[in-house]
Symmetry: D2
Subunit: 488 residues, 4 copies
């Protein structure tokens, strides 16, 4: 059932897209205001829609879910006044790839009324056995209201025999496979959970008497909260004004497999992961890339804005001057609604323009964060050549993206991934550039701080999109015919 | 949980309000278009919101639910194209009295995905044991998405062990108490049910190869369908393109207790109930009233628009000339949004104006359909006197409304009903008019065609709002402290 | 130049449409609130758009102009707060026939800044030499901002050499031909003018310390103002808080030619014209019609709502019972936006339904106010016959409309007027009814109070739409090829 | 008179704001589409509102003016279809400082109907004798519809005795003082004019058979047009499909005084002025600044995004590493509508965040383009210190802004300009930073290519905002009491 068409993303279809950002606050008056600010800072993790649930002792649970940017919805006083209370959680999301259409029903947080009271839950990641769970739940009489996999959790909780909500959540999450970071709330408690492998991020912060959970540290900064620590893989924290932070470990312990692509692209450069800013890591990727794949040239230019830190690193390591050869139009919003043919055809020109006077006659190194379908790379190369560049060399700050992600990231089908079907040389020919080089997987691991590179037996990160090695079996996808990489 | 404040009805709070109208079509291409037209004709039964679910063999179930008038939402081509297929049901509603706020989640039809396929259901009436059912269902793990009592039915269906949806619906409805007319649909079938007492109306129509279910016959007229028959009390019809209309009787047979207030006010005057037009019945109420409560006067004026047929009847029986002494502003819509103080204070003047030149110096009989709180009667009386009337006599086309309805009609609490606390003479003093007279209960029964008047042992209609005799025990309300009329 | 398409009036195209209502207030705090209420009461005179200009000693002139109903725009506190001050005028309008598209620029009041201060002006009527005036003004360097004829007045005022605004307005209006009632305002004065023939209405009212000008008395009632008198034909009143009402007569005196169609259809039935309510006049038209055109039948039914008073009069004079045989859908708003084909084809059924049970087998007299194109009459006749009526007799409460109006009423081109090309008998055949009869012109004059009927030498009213005798030569139209009726 | 409140710019109030961008096209089918794209590329010159007028031989002139971004309004097919034809001009604007409120009436292009046909005109700059002209025109009977100074031009044209529109425009512009670049159109001609000093930019481009006028070259790039040349100071070009480009010089010749702030901030970095990219000029400003004002530090960080090119130049000249120490939130739109108190208080944090891990313990050079009020500089300094920076050194890529601009740029009153009341050392203390240094006026002239620096007798640019030397006397402002710099 679809009720409303989602806005399209006509020009952003050549990036992997993080599907969600989550944020929760307990112990601060008008908590929903802080959640709105946190979600604004996490908007890069999900631009399609957002939702906030709050709880107030007098007015109970209240919820608002909206399509569009946080700043356009969750800032008006009249709306925020409908979300009172000292406890609130929120969520921003992309639409799921392949869905027929997005409905406001699919926007989180989800809410459920249990016999011991209500609970709301928001989720970043993907449940890899959701189809099987949904089928089982429907057979037992559950009514699903959304197309979202995350709704399984709330139904599993409803059917749990445990006496309180945190224990029901443990029950439910033990049935769930995949990658997930969760923020949830009861009438008095804020709950945070990371899956046993810790694939998706979740951090804890503190502000005055209150506690905060967030996908990234940059959202702590915006409200002035102090970063306390990362939630550990497999940890559940239950936080209340009265009792502070209690830590539980409901799952069998496993080694961490944090998503390495958070370093490459998803997280904001001013967030801190593992004690170091994402900006510095990306800068270091550029340094490693300059060592691995040097080339004689006149200028190092980033593909704005995500390629900038790596381009600076490449420039500083190589000694080739850094310059903004491509300018981004700051007024390019997310969408055009029913545009004219002529405007649709403009494509990338609407958001990028080449600095012709700078580029003309130069040998240009273009640093981009990743190549997915390769469609944007092709257009950018054309713009650079039209502007009179003498040579174009692509340097990519991630290894070739050859496998889809099933852990909460929107990736094209495998056949659409340029690196799934072409070697580096074939890509060079396909893009018709002077050279293209990707950082090696080991180089990337070194840049993120693993001096010895990747541990092939027991990789320190989830790098399935590069390696095809999936730390959690994508069982629903296998049931639909997806073929895992053959064992070597 | 509330998500969106409903529009208020600032000037219509002195009427009983039918809470719903329902309509369904099977076997006509673009069925949702016919449903939209039918709901437009039933708009008087529920002005706050409306919804349509359709099913198409290729595109499955689709649903749109919106606040506001049918004509403002369900007429646009772009919206209606999202509701394809030969099978559709729809619903218009008022908000339930006492609810904290209306949410789009509360707008019917409700949809549930069962293991044997999906079903949608829309309901006119009220389930008198809904609180108890809801409590039980939540304890067994059902997640409610709305504050609507009707959602119980879909959860009861989800938990039934029957193999097909009509049988699951029978299972569910046997657990339900109260008054209900239901239209529902599966992927291939249109289903209609009336409760065992037949309190709320439901009729069957035919158009070409298709079948239609509707709350009233006036909605058959708008699409050009032929009226076939009323669905019988306690009957369930299961209709498909292939097999036509099948009739079932899932409940224990009882004598009919149709809502007599449908004749007085709820139904449209051009609808046909029991073979006679509602207009004629109301005209006849006026005739009876003129016989029971004659008075010497110069003019008979209706309180527009609902008092008009009875006023014509009164005029024709009494020989006193009929005149439009009060003029209704045709551009008075339902609501003002955040009006200025000055405009709020205008009250009834915004929608009614007295025809001063006509009224001045005259003895005026005002015919109204009912008196609920008496607030509007008071204001109208003042307008008439301000305009210089010599005398004002109220004649009311229904007996005193002294008891709340628990069968799907929005009534004030008992204490707010003028007739619950005052005798006719006290009302006359309270309203400060020359006389006020209500039709007798027997007079009303005669007017609707019961020549012998009311059968006090076994009343032919549900008249609880006048008599306090409730044909189905309002068990949830009794649990909340409502006291039934003491046995005499 | 067009900037925005107006809403269409798909089902109201078979009536003459008054093009404007005007209202002004001086000497009441928050005058704009009173103007809003007055315009709401005058909404029947113009449903497309409305505007209000107010003046406050501190904040100067402020203006809001909007498409849509008054109640949807000019009731919100936030908007009304932008219109402060004790002096305000307002306007409601239809779009002008033949315009390529309506723009908010065309919505009155118009405002002009003169060397001695600003003035705003709103106008009901039509300037018959506007094309010539506009051409002359453009040649002399005036820049027109709208397509509205009324803008000429403000440019003529700007070029006047008089020292104050009322005198400039006199200068301007002496150049203007046609029919016009004007309300205007300076920083301290409210001004009202009727053209020398007094074709369009304008009345004066009083409320506390304040003065009110209005198109009709019904708009005095809504704000509780007392009716003082009609502004005389050719009179200009200049009203200020300080000096009260001053009366001027800037034009050569002529005999009055008030629009007789105001009695038939334009004015609201609760307005008072010439000391008698419009309702009573219409009732009397029905009486005259019953005398002129009796017929044996079972029922007299109005075409709702405008035919109702005449139908009551016909019934009372003839003794044939009055009944509401056609029911109007109260939720039928003005427009459908981009409706589906199916909904468009429903036409009149969306707003009217026949009371089948009442009509079946009966000989029915249908009383309508007028016949313009005849398209609606045809559809209504079909609905009545479909419902099984034995005979259908049309009785029309106005003479045949055979000539277009050029004095501020939207009429079709002459060829489209049914009565311009057909005799009564031809119309009967065309509509395929048992009989059709129009009231005679003399009968109409008697009904409005001229006991001797029409004075053919010097008619007491403007009846050009019936007689083709235009009291002011429509010079722009003649320049475009319109042919006056040949002298007899 | 105000009709609608404009959106506020709550966080951008510490920059000078270019008030307009203009664009015109002749000889390309659906010219308005190209104008929309050009305006999108010029959005940085005016974010509040935009307008397009087009002309089509069949459909005449059409106009759309809207508040908000170009991409949100002028991309929809349904809207663009209302702007047909091969000739169109457009405009983007900021609101004028000090205006009580913006109305759509104030949005250009302005249109006037003259006796020889219509013309539309759009204007970038400011008319310094507009008050005097307006007063004169009103006295002679012109009616102004907007508060915009530019409307004078159209009224002067209306009153000209010349026989064709280009000659009328020459007449009008000879009466006008100040800085202006104009694009205008008749039914067949596109016209471009620069004022005699050439203060504001205007360039000519070519695309296929068509011709283009634009404020900057970056807007030629977006539609793929070739840059032909800059329009010369004092030149008027009249361009038609038939006759191509004709050049006129209606004014007395003077030496060029192009606005030097276009190099510093207004123009986009990818535009070309005087044969060199603005990016390179800004880079060179950074180089000069590093030479003039070196300091020992660890990092050079730009204040994003406008400080970036100068920061890169500073880094490359000084050898101190460049880093993105401040991150801009990409989802920070222009406005919040009625935000909560908490959100309003967040201020600059909503759009900027410091990269804490990078900054901590470092001596940081912050490169910004300019200091106006100093309010943002102060907040940024606090953010940097909060993040643990050891030292903060401001380097400003323009001289101290000590005088308001009267030539089409929105500047605060002189008293509000930090540099009008403080020396560099006082600013250092006020901002409480370790050092602050501005580039010298000579240094800026060298960076823009004047190797000998500023010619004090006859400056090569308009630098009034730095020097207080106004090349055109601001006569309206002097009449209002503004005091010119005392002669030295």
């Amino acid at each position: 059932m679809s009720t409303q068409m989602p806005p399209a993303h006509p020009f952003d279809d050549d990036k992997l897209k993080e599907e969600c950002g989550i944020f929760g606050v307990v112990g601060l008056s008008d908590a929903a205001n802080f959640v709105a600010l946190g979600l604004h800072a996490l908007q890069h993790r999900g631009q399609e829609a957002g939702g906030i649930v709050s709880h107030d002792p007098d007015q109970g649970f209240n919820s608002v879910r909206r399509f569009g940017y946080v700043r356009d919805n969750f800032t008006r006083q009249s709306l925020m006044e409908t979300l009172p209370g000292p406890l609130a959680i929120g969520h921003v999301r992309y639409s799921t790839a392949g869905a027929k259409g997005a409905a406001i029903r699919d926007v989180q947080p989800f809410f459920g009324e249990f016999s011991m009271g209500g609970a709301a839950i928001a989720h970043n990641g993907n449940i890899t056995n959701a189809d099987a769970l949904r089928k089982e739940l429907i057979e037992r009489g559950s009514i699903f209201q959304s197309g979202s996999d995350s709704e399984c959790i709330i139904h599993l909780m409803a059917r749990s025999l445990q006496r309180n909500i945190p224990e029901r959540m443990e029950d439910a999450l033990r049935r769930v496979e995949g990658a997930f970071s969760v923020v949830a709330m009861t009438r008095t408690k804020l709950i945070g959970v990371r899956d046993p492998l810790g694939v998706r991020p979740l951090v804890l912060g503190q502000l005055g008497e209150g506690w905060v959970l967030s996908s990234e540290t940059c959202a702590l900064d915006i409200i002035g909260a102090t970063f306390v620590r990362e939630i550990a893989p497999g940890e559940m924290v239950v936080i209340s004004e009265k009792d502070g932070v209690e830590s539980h470990y409901p799952f069998r312990r496993q080694s961490s497999r944090f998503c390495i692509f958070e370093h490459v692209y998803f997280s904001r450069p001013d967030s801190i992961i593992g004690g170091r800013s994402v900006y510095e890591t990306r800068h270091q990727i550029g340094v490693e890339l300059a060592r691995e794949a040097p080339v004689d040239a006149d200028l190092v230019c980033p593909v704005p804005d995500s390629g900038t830190p790596a381009a600076i690193g490449y420039s500083q390591e190589s000694g080739i001057p850094f310059a903004m050869g491509i300018i981004r139009n700051q007024y390019m919003g997310r969408t055009f609604i029913e545009p004219t043919e002529q405007i649709r055809n403009m494509g990338v020109r609407l958001k990028l323009n080449v600095n012709r006077a700078l580029i003309e006659g130069k040998r240009v190194i273009l640093v981009d964060d990743s190549v997915v379908r390769g469609t944007t790379s092709r257009k950018i190369k054309e713009m650079i050549l039209d502007a009179g560049a003498a040579e174009v060399h692509f340097r990519i700050a991630s290894p070739p993206t050859a496998w889809p992600c099933f852990y909460g990231v929107d990736t094209p089908q495998r056949e659409k991934l340029l690196a799934a079907t072409m070697s580096e040389e074939e890509m060079r020919e396909h893009l018709n550039v002077d050279s293209i080089r990707f950082i090696s997987l080991d180089g990337l691991y070194r840049a993120v701080g693993e001096a010895q590179g990747r541990d092939t037996k027991c990789p320190q990160y989830c790098d399935a999109c590069f390696s095809g090695e999936y730390p959690v079996e994508p069982s629903d996808m296998i049931a639909k015919g997806f073929e895992l990489k053959a064992a070597e």
